[in-house]
Symmetry: C2
Subunit: 420 residues, 2 copies
């Protein structure tokens, strides 16, 4: 049997000792049940048991973070927090993302010995490479397809999210394409609705993309939202590719990470991964999953782009956490599997500087919905304001200074600063 192991690190909170909680986690996810059963021999435990690798004490708190905890009879009123690392023999489930999920998460979140549990990180062994090839395009391939180097790929999201007629959509895309944008995506709320079926949408959008490309010499990347039932993914993907489209988008949590892996078995264009519903898995600090763990599984499954939030955005996440997420996407996984982070939500030219200052990276997509489309001088000025802001940031020029020299920046600041 292979000696490869899958590592999993958790933030644990418990009214018991952290060592006891760690053993409970290990037992629950391998050979254990609530009572000894025949066949649970020492040899079997040795070969298949989950091992506790390390237990690191953190702070103590006076009340449980989650409900339903069973207190020890001699409870001293303290809940211990710590970082617990365990490792699973890979041969318990093999290189399989869905079965890895069951192993590292499974029923653990429901244990009454724990008052908090959060999956912080997973370590993926080499064998997964044999099954999952990961992103086919990633950062390099996406740069090649868009022809953008030295700065982020700048794009927008079709707004209003829902309700545009084919004619309005086609006109909007034409305007944006003529404005020179690198990238446009469908909104996650708009995939294949009855009033705007994907087939018609692809046709309408690609006509604008191609006609604009004839004029500008630049063909933008359009991420068509192909989210749907599993049986629809191939048809939807093929519709896009046959029409000359160069990107498909999927809501990762709607089709499942396993759905993404399936899409990646036949996709011919980059997969733009939208992580909506992610807040449900991560916003409670003592439950769920850290993005560090989540994005590894998404990258393994094959997302070429993955949404993170934006700095100074409209969501709850702190800038520090957003920066950590941006970096996480480009850290090597199994010697590769690079994915392009997609910085989005509440973004406009003004957020570019903070993003560069905090990350010192231009390897990302930077998307602004209203921040481009609602620019007082139109989307071309909106796009220009984004490029200018990145230019300023990379060259160490202050936004204010550059805004004095460039009206697109100045007007963006006048409108959007007050909205934030």
């Amino acid at each position: 049997m292979t000696q490869e192991r899958v590592g999993a690190t958790y933030l644990v909170e418990t009214p018991y000792s952290l060592e006891y909680a760690a053993e409970k986690i290990a037992g629950e996810q391998s050979t254990g049940t609530f009572t000894a059963v025949p066949g649970e021999t020492d040899a079997l435990k040795e070969l298949h048991g989950v091992k506790v690798v390390s237990v690191k004490e953190l702070e103590q708190v006076q009340s449980p973070s989650l409900p339903g905890v069973k207190l020890p009879s001699n409870h001293n009123g303290v809940f211990y927090r710590g970082e617990v690392k365990v490792s699973f023999p890979l041969h318990n489930f093999g290189p399989s993302i869905p079965n890895l999920l069951t192993a590292v998460a499974g029923n653990l979140y429901e244990l009454q010995e724990l008052s908090g549990l959060r999956l912080m990180d997973v370590e993926i062994p080499e064998s997964f490479k044999d099954v999952y090839q990961g992103p086919k395009f990633g950062i390099k391939g996406t740069r090649q397809l868009t022809g953008v180097e030295g700065r982020p790929i700048i794009g927008t999201i079709i707004k209003p999210s829902v309700g545009l007629s084919m004619e309005e959509l086609q006109k909007t895309v034409m305007n944006l394409a003529l404005a020179g944008l690198d990238f446009i995506k469908d909104d996650e709320l708009n995939a294949n609705p009855p009033y705007a079926p994907l087939e018609k949408k692809v046709k309408a959008v690609m006509e604008s993309v191609e006609r604009a490309a004839d004029k500008t010499g630049k063909k933008l990347m359009y991420a068509f939202n192909i989210t749907g039932d599993i049986n629809e993914l191939r048809r939807n993907h093929d519709l896009v590719v046959k029409a000359g489209g160069n990107c498909v988008m999927a809501s990762i949590n709607s089709i499942g990470i396993t759905g993404v892996a399936y899409l990646n078995t036949f996709s011919e264009v980059p997969i733009h991964g939208h992580r909506n519903q992610w807040g449900m898995l991560t916003r409670c600090p003592s439950l769920g999953m850290e993005f560090t763990a989540y994005q590894k599984l998404c990258r393994l499954a094959g997302v070429d782009h993955i949404h993170v939030n934006g700095l100074n955005g409209k969501f709850y996440e702190s800038n520090e956490s957003v920066v950590k997420a941006i970096h996480a996407c480009t850290e090597l996984l199994l010697d590769g599997y690079e994915t392009m982070p997609v910085v989005s939500n509440g973004q406009w030219a003004g957020t570019a500087c903070a993003t560069y200052e905090s990350t010192k990276s231009v390897d990302m997509m930077h998307l602004a919905g209203g921040g481009i489309m609602a620019h007082p001088d139109g989307p071309a000025a909106g796009f220009e304001s984004m490029k200018l802001a990145w230019e300023a940031a990379v060259n160490g020029i202050s936004f204010e200074q550059y805004a004095k020299e460039h009206h697109q920046l100045r007007k963006a600041a006048e409108l959007f600063s007050s909205k934030k």
Copy 2:
């Protein structure tokens, strides 16, 4: 355009007024972005906007349940809790489970205007029937296949969960089948591991099942864990069916609800839905999802059986919540879509009485791992103890009284009462 709507009810917590939060939710999930964009006309809003149906005030609290909330400038220190119901025009996304998920959950959990958000319920309109046929077997079909009437379908889980050799597994199944059990399932941790590939497992298990059936005249139902990548589901399912197997099990959250719906497009036997990882979505009371909403989507996708927890079990969930979950599974959904609740974890004969008293129902599976397999007199006595306990419960006889007359019950109580 159709006038059908999808309803969604949330538990909301906010430092703003509940009415403001409700409008924020509605805007975020339909036409809105952080600034007005061209094309967002009143007519478009009327046709595609999400409508606030009702806002019901609940209690007020003094601190936010979730981090990252943006306080209003004139904040009075109060966080308002309430039940907010909104409705989506179905034509915004059509009868599609994955796109419904994006609509009703989406980015809402990340809004900084909210300090708590939990999806409590969804209302599914009729059109979904045209796309999703739901459970093909449910309670009635599962009773027909197992030949069990008038009491729960009683079964066990193969333990130890991982590590049994083919010979040990075959022997274990033979013992359990000869003991007369109605049902056995693979553990969720054990699907298709390298040391026990599904193909061999199916062969070994079905030999025991068939040979025992020849002797006892009763063929038990065995739920093979076929959880795997999407591309493997059909192969795995077909392996089971070709070998004469009569049930497949899938970890719902590992293959995704969309993965379940896909499996249901070709499955010929009941789908046993395991909800591991569910705790991650539900244990924080101010985040995630209530089982009422979750099980509707699972049933729509086609699970014939769905795991709930067990009363007096080893997990955090309260008995009251477990009872609510059991009832939820059998409430009509679109005039049908009945699913058999699977009561499991930390179960033994002693928990049968509490289960019947609280539910007054026998329409469930009642699974005991150690509670059957580790019975002092072996699994036949373990199975008998479960049947006797239900017999007592249904006939209004006390467990203690029946235990005096039946040694299988007495011995179970002696061993397991002390373990709980």
